[in-house]
Symmetry: C2
Subunit: 189 residues, 2 copies
């Protein structure tokens, strides 16, 4: 099994040799170029991705051509177009690789099989889900209670790496503001 995946599991569950083999077989490796689209809007999200290296962006497109970043997935994190993956229905969001990325991917069936077959696996998934849900709650709070500048300041404090690594236009649509407004915030503050 790939050491990055191993690292996610160790300390949470201990696997037998056969279990480790089972897990290892479920995850397929994949590379993605910068800018490459992994899931197009309208298709079903068949895979949950694990980012070994690089960064994925889950984003929304509107008819006027505007784009909005729903989530960013960095190293050592899992992610996908979650509603589509869970419900196996067409996704309103697309997934794009923001950098040359090294990924592992698992389909829904296999993900469910592992939860059924490996004791503790579902618990591990649930705990991850709890963390993701908490992060999304905090994002909602920041969107309803703070203005653009405050949201940007918090992002700088909590995720400085994100700001250095991604173009400002992506930061802007992640924060729910325009690129121009973000540019002005950066100089004003």
């Amino acid at each position: 099994m790939h050491p990055a995946l191993q690292k996610q599991i160790e300390g949470k569950i201990s696997l037998s040799a056969e279990q480790e083999q089972l897990v290892s077989n479920c995850y397929k490796s994949r590379q993605a170029k910068k800018g490459e689209i992994l899931l197009e809007k309208g298709n079903v999200a068949r895979y949950l991705y694990f980012v070994v290296k690089g960064c994925l962006r889950v984003f929304l497109t509107k008819d006027d051509g505007s784009e909005w970043t729903r989530f960013l997935i960095f190293e050592d994190h899992f992610g996908t177009a979650f509603p589509s993956f869970v419900q196996q229905k067409p996704s309103v969001a697309a997934i794009q690789s923001m950098e040359p990325s090294e990924l592992f991917m698992i389909n829904r069936q296999d993900a469910q099989m592992l939860m059924k077959e490996i004791p503790g696996w579902e618990t591990m998934m649930r705990l991850g889900l709890e963390q993701d849900y908490i992060a999304s709650i905090e994002r909602i709070e920041s969107l309803i209670t703070l203005d653009a500048k405050e949201r940007y300041n918090i992002l700088m404090q909590t995720q400085p790496g994100l700001i250095q690594r991604l173009p400002g236009k992506i930061i802007a649509d992640y924060l729910g503001i325009s690129q121009e407004t973000l540019s002005r915030l950066k100089s004003k503050k």
Copy 2:
């Protein structure tokens, strides 16, 4: 066991008599008056609530006295100040009963014990969590991609009951807008 709770479980898991007794013992019944505070900001959320009748509001308060509704929990739904409940740390949000409410409550320890002891219970919880997470993702999308009027229109389409049942000021801070703006949206559209 109370029929409303029973209804949540039936079709998902079948419980033995002892298991049913175990579940039943974990849930304590509670009434709450309209306006009553169930959790104050700064305290740890000890309970996950199930709403049999009525409505709970999980909300944030800022120093200037403004309030913002993080979540609303209606009949046949579970909810609490989730980050605090999961991490057992002081809550930034408070919980208030918006109507005379009939509730069941379970503490974190018992909730975890049921997941450990009853086969299928954790799966049921995980599926509920997935749904809540999806709902929160959709709320984020609506906050970053839509303006106030569009958000209000969608809320009217998807949750008309919510709008009839709660005061406009609550609808407004749930949507992340001021009461005055909401009032103007209602007459303009």
